[in-house]
Amino acid sequence: MPNFTQTEIAVEKVTMRFLKAQARTHSLKELLVQKLSGKHRAEYFTALDQVSFTVQTGEIIGLIGKNGSGKSTLLRIIAGALTPTSGKVRVDAKKVKLLTLGAGFDTELTGRENVYLNGALIGYSKPFLDRIYPDIVRFSELEGFMDEKIRNFSSGMVSRLSFAIATAQKAPEILILDEVLSVGDSHFRKKSEARIREMIHSGSTVLMVSHSNAAIRNNCTRVIWLEKGRIRQTGTPNEVCAAYEKAENAL
C-alpha cells in the first residue's frame, strides 16, 4: 500500500444548483410577463448537495452512481470548468487535467487539422503537437487518412483519433477521467484500455467515472457512491460496488 499522507484535493460542502430549463427566461416577452406579474418562478435543480471529501496523493478514486447523480458535474467542478453555487474545492488547478475526447472536432476539417484544433483546445502547445503528431497517427491507425475530412471517417475512426489525441500526453499529476475507458472495436479497445491503465497507474492521483463496475474494481483504491447529489457510501471498491450492485438489482 502506498503511504497516503498529503491531501491533494479537498472538496468542502460543494453544492451546485442549475436553473431549470423551463424556468429560464429566454425571451423578452417572458421576462416582461414575469417582471410585471411579480411572479418570478425560480426553480432550481440541485445537482450536488453539500458534498465533502478529500483525496490523498496517489489515490485512485472511482465515482459511481446512476445517470444524473452528479458525477460529471462534480468532476467538472474539480477540473475548474464549473464554479459551484456554494462550497469550495481546494486543489492546485495547474496539476489537474480532465481528459476529454473530441472537444471541438469539426467534420468539415481534415484529420490533421482536427488534431491541431482539438489539441489546442485541450491545452497542447504547437511544438508539443508537432512532436507527438506521428504517434497520434500511428496509435489511431489512421495512416493515409489524415488529409481526408473527418466527415468521411467512420465513427470508429473518429473515436480512435480523439482517444489518441487525448492520451498522447504524459499523465498529469491529477488525472480526471469521465467515461473514456473503452472506445472502438475489440482490438482497439484492448490497446486503449492498456494505455489508460498505464496513465492511471503512473503515480498520478486519479478521479474516474465509469459505468463499468469491472473497470472500477480493477483500478480504484477507493470508491465514492453518489446518489441524487449526495454521497451515499464511501469505501473499498469491493464493498461499495457490491452494495451498489445490490441496490441496482433490487429495483
Partner: protein, 256 residues
C-alpha cells in the same frame, strides 16, 4: 509561465479562426480562393449597378459605396457571428477550462481576417477606377483597429445577452437594418438636414466610414477631434463590453 500562456492563447485563437474560415468554403472546389474572389465579384457587380447612380453628386460613387460596404460588412459579420457563439460552443465550454471570451474574440477576429481579404479585392477596385494612391490611406490600419475594438465590445455584450434572452438575435437584426440606413452607406449625406443628419453624424459606424472615405477619395487625414472620437468609440466600447462580460461570467455559465 505567463509567456507560454499567451502563446497558447494565440495558438488557440489561430486554430479557432482557421476553423471558421475553412468551414466557410469547405464544400467548394476553389476553397479559400473564394475569400478574395467572393468580395471581388460582388464588388464588380455592385459597381456595375451603382455606377449609374448619384453621378452628379458623388465622384467615384462605386468606391464611395464600397468603402462603406466593406466596413459595414466587417462589423455586421463580426457581431452577427458572435451573438450565438457561446450557445454554439456550449458542450465545449462546459468541458474545458479556459477564458470563454476567446470564442467571441475568435469570431470577431475571423470577420476581420475576412475584411483583410476584402481589402485585397477593394485594392483591385481602386486600381480599376484609377484612384490615386494617397498617404492618408495609411490611416486604414489604425481605423480598422478602432473598428475592431468597437465590434468586439458590442459582440461581448450581445453574446452575453443572448444567453439570457434569445430574442436579442432577432431584435438585433431589425436594429441593424435601421442602423444601416443611418450609416449613409449608399447615399450622400450632404443633402440631409435636421435630426436625421445629426443622428448620422453621431453614429460611430458613420464616423469610421466617412473617415475612411475622406482618406481614400480626398486624401484627407482625420482631424484631431475625429481621431479622438474614433479612439473613444473603439476603446470605450471594448472596455465596457469586456468589463460587463467578465463581471457576469458565472451567471452566464449557469445560463448556458
Amino acid at each position: 509561465m505567463k509567456e507560454s500562456q499567451s502563446r497558447q492563447f494565440f495558438f488557440l485563437l489561430r486554430q479557432l479562426t482557421g476553423r471558421e474560415l475553412k468551414r466557410k468554403y469547405a464544400r467548394s472546389y476553389l476553397g479559400v480562393i473564394w475569400s478574395v474572389l467572393h468580395p471581388l465579384l460582388s464588388m464588380v457587380i455592385l459597381s456595375l449597378i451603382f455606377s449609374q447612380l448619384f453621378r452628379r453628386t458623388i465622384d467615384h460613387y462605386p468606391i464611395y459605396y464600397l468603402t462603406g460596404y466593406i466596413l459595414w460588412q466587417a462589423f455586421t459579420g463580426a457581431t452577427n457571428a458572435s451573438i450565438t457563439t457561446l450557445a454554439d460552443n456550449k458542450a465545449l465550454l462546459l468541458k474545458i477550462h479556459f477564458p470563454i471570451e476567446l470564442f467571441v474574440l475568435a469570431r470577431v477576429y475571423t470577420a476581420f481576417v475576412q475584411l483583410g481579404y476584402s481589402l485585397i479585392a477593394y485594392g483591385t477596385m481602386l486600381a480599376l477606377f484609377r484612384i490615386p494612391l494617397q498617404w492618408s490611406m495609411l490611416i486604414a490600419p489604425l481605423l480598422i483597429l478602432f473598428l475592431f475594438g468597437f465590434a468586439l465590445g458590442i459582440s461581448y455584450l450581445l453574446s452575453a445577452a443572448y444567453l439570457f434572452f434569445g430574442d436579442i438575435k432577432y431584435l438585433y437584426s431589425v436594429a441593424l437594418t435601421l442602423w444601416m440606413y443611418c450609416s449613409a452607406i449608399f447615399y450622400p449625406v450632404d443633402q440631409l438636414e435636421g435630426p436625421i443628419r445629426w443622428i448620422i453624424e453621431e453614429n460611430p459606424l458613420f464616423l469610421f466610414i466617412s473617415t475612411m472615405r475622406n482618406a481614400v477619395l480626398s486624401g484627407l487625414w482625420p482631424d484631431p477631434k475625429t481621431s479622438l472620437r474614433m479612439l473613444l468609440w473603439g476603446g470605450g466600447t471594448y472596455l465596457l463590453g469586456s468589463l460587463l462580460f467578465r463581471k457576469n461570467k458565472s451567471r452566464m455559465m449557469q445560463n448556458l
